[in-house]
């Protein structure tokens, strides 16, 4: 019997169902722990800098990815930026249509060499321009949990 054999009887094609039933709890790590605590408690954006390579990282990191140097100390950056690229999303992950389209953007963060991925808010899709200046919109302090959703989105500055 050959390995590649055609069949017309799809009822012969059986399968077995199952799942991988694990779930995850991710710790933030030393870098992101400092970043999200500052965002939650003070609404600040903490960055770190590698003087050797001349690179500023946001969110703060404990090592430079280019030279594997250790980065000590963090400092605040404004959290404002410019739209580097954007897209308008109409479908959910399961392909069902969204009630309202959302704008997802890559934002060049001022004073750093990094970009954030987040929503644009307070603006219509047709009004967005690459290069547009934006500022972060945070949730009220009491609603912040220490996560990326503490930022509601970026709005035109």
């Amino acid at each position: 019997m050959g390995l590649t054999e055609r069949t017309n009887r799809n009822v012969d094609l059986t399968y077995w169902e199952g799942e991988i039933p694990v779930n995850y709890v991710y710790t933030y790590g030393l870098g992101l722990e400092a970043f999200f605590r500052a965002l939650k408690e003070q609404g600040k954006f903490l960055a770190s800098r590698c003087e050797e390579c001349g690179v500023t990282y946001l969110p703060a990191r404990v090592f430079c990815e280019r030279c594997l140097g250790k980065l000590e100390g963090t400092f605040a950056v404004p959290g404002t930026g410019k739209v580097y690229a954007y897209t308008v999303v109409h479908r959910n992950m399961d392909e069902s249509p969204k009630d309202e389209p959302v704008i997802l953007a890559l934002v060049d963060m001022d004073g750093t060499d990094c970009r954030f991925v987040h929503y644009l808010t307070g603006v219509e899709p047709g009004e967005v321009k690459v290069g547009m200046a934006v500022k972060p919109v945070l949730k009220a302090k009491k609603d912040r949990k220490g996560g990326i959703e503490d930022i509601v989105g970026f709005a035109p500055a």
């Binding site: 077995w16 991988i20 710790t27 280019r66 030279c67």
Partner: protein, 387 residues
Amino acid sequence: MAYQRVAIVGAGITKFVRRAQETGKELAFQAAKMALDSCGLTMKDIECVSLGTAPDAFDGVHMKGEYLSDGSGGWRKPYMRHFVGGGTGVFAPIHGWFHVASGMFDTCLVVCSEKMSSCHPHPQGAFKTIFDHTTEQPLNPTLIWIFALEMNRYMQTYGITKEEIALVSVKNKKNAMDHPSAQLPMEITVEDVLNSEVLAWPVNRLDISPASDGAAAIVLASEHVAKRITDKPVWIDGVGWNLDTAYWATRDLAYPRYVEKAARMAYEMAGIKEPQKEIEIAEPYDPFDYKELHHMEGLLLADRGKAVEMLLDGKTQRDGDRPMCPSGGALGVGNPIAATGLMKVIEIFLQLRGEAGKRQVPGNPRCGLAQAWGDLMQVGTVVVLRR
């Protein structure tokens, strides 16, 4: 030999802990940075990176190789991830070895990082899928079954008792008390092992190594570069790896043939004709205590069924004729899947250089071996190191 000679010139390791705050990237960085510092190199001196890490399912991170690349110095470098289950830790230096031996690169940073603690309810759960999904998973198996089944067969075939096997756990956990990274160093007795909770007879809790987070790294260099970096290079003289059938229930569980084949491959390359005489110190993989004996036989360091005699005679203690797992092994130091094997390679590296601190075995050994094992009891990976 149509290839360059390769040496290990530096090493780095983190503590092995049950739960680390650091992300997998940060753990990789800590080990990699220490490895570079230990031999005075920077990322500018590193030409390529080899990363080993176990299933993405532990960390819950898809494409884990790419995810860990920044912490491993992979930024804008030729970078490759490899994985053979628990065998990864010793496959890592082999993978790094190809890069340098081929003549394509003169230096290679080899990193292994594992963060199993992200997996809930327990990292063991991610192993459910090691069993065949259709013919085995419906029976609700757990990872411990395969070890228990293998241990039972091994005991029965050679008439070895649980009391005798427990001595491995006692030895390794005691050895680990001198290892700075150790997760479970402790002084226990055979009674403690036998009285510990029975998980799946014949396996008790103290027969097993823990789930861990941790990372390790080494720096490899070709001969002419190695001699400029250190006056004590440790040469990778033999490498071997081998895989057995996926139908594990048809294998002879009492003897790991695939470990023998991997060992023979490494011995031939290293010119070793009598392993029992020429290999002075070894780190066989010991996720469970009986495994140290099982692997000693597969590595041809003991005759079949006779490894236990060497254990009972004290030959495998640090001050014995043939020290086995002087580091404390997975049982004592911890078992962050991919990093464990590399921890063992690092131990032999340090022992051959006389830099193993309180764990140093006497007698100035010049030739040692590290071995790891993984998948569904399938893969054997072996490296022979010489000074």
